[in-house]
């Protein structure tokens, strides 16, 4: 079975400060890991993904995430937050194990609020 945990329902940060949105995962094999962002009343927009290779992944809008296999984590980070980053963020995992199905499994989401 595969699953994702986003332990924080909401993260608050002041504009210009660094931000971190946490994600941990559980898979039987090796993971494909994704971050998506959702603005109000909109669909999900792809931010970045980890497939293989360098553990530090850089994505859209200045976001990055670090894959940590020993801690089974894939936290999303940005050095300097913008008010426009305020949105709902979803972490997702897919198991490379061929017996785990085709679904991309999502966490429940973390609401990020960046204040001026």
């Amino acid at each position: 079975a595969q699953s994702v945990a986003q332990p924080e329902d909401q993260v608050n940060v002041a504009e210009g400060n660094p931000l971190t949105v946490k994600c941990t995962y559980s898979v039987s094999g090796n993971p494909y890991l994704f971050w998506y962002v959702q603005y109000p009343n909109r669909g999900l927009q792809f931010l970045l993904k980890y497939i293989t290779g360098d553990n530090l992944v850089k994505g859209s809008y200045g976001f990055e995430a670090e894959f940590n296999k020993s801690q089974t984590s894939f936290h999303l980070k940005k050095p300097s937050a913008l008010v426009s980053d305020s949105a709902l963020y979803f972490c997702a995992v897919r198991d490379m194990d061929s017996n785990s199905g085709y679904a991309l499994n999502f966490g429940k989401g973390t609401s990020l609020l960046v204040t001026p």
């Binding site: 994704f34 999900l44 979803f90 679904a103 991309l104």
Partner: protein, 116 residues
């Protein structure tokens, strides 16, 4: 088209009625997915198509839900005898290839279904 297109964007229907939701994936994408997102939750997997066939329908909640993709492009999600609990955003997504690859999955804006 440039992205995944879903119609209608909003649908209000009476309990017991039949509903069809349409998805037009990104041109050339062979893999197509349907997800359902309830308020305050992450997207939940419903069904995955590789080409014309449903390779994984393990997420469909019951036999009132059915989806087709007859020509390997446009897909229709069909819900019979709708119930109030079916109210949610139905998200369609596509990727270049499916299976167990790490291809990015791109989402549409969703179809907001309200059953009254």
């Amino acid at each position: 088209g440039a992205g995944v297109s879903q119609t209608p964007s909003n649908k209000v229907t009476e309990k017991g009625k039949y509903v069809e939701l349409r998805c037009d994936p990104i041109s050339g994408h062979t893999a197509l997915y349907w997800y359902r997102q309830s308020l305050g939750q992450g997207p939940e997997f419903l069904i995955y198509f590789q080409g014309t066939g449903a390779a994984d329908d393990s997420g469909l909640p019951n036999d009132r839900f059915f989806a087709v993709r007859p020509e390997g492009s446009v897909s229709t999600l069909k819900i019979q005898r709708t119930e109030r609990g079916d109210s949610a955003v139905y998200l369609c997504a596509s990727s270049l290839n499916g299976g167990y690859s790490g291809n990015t999955i791109y989402f549409g804006e969703g179809s907001w279904l309200t059953v009254v």
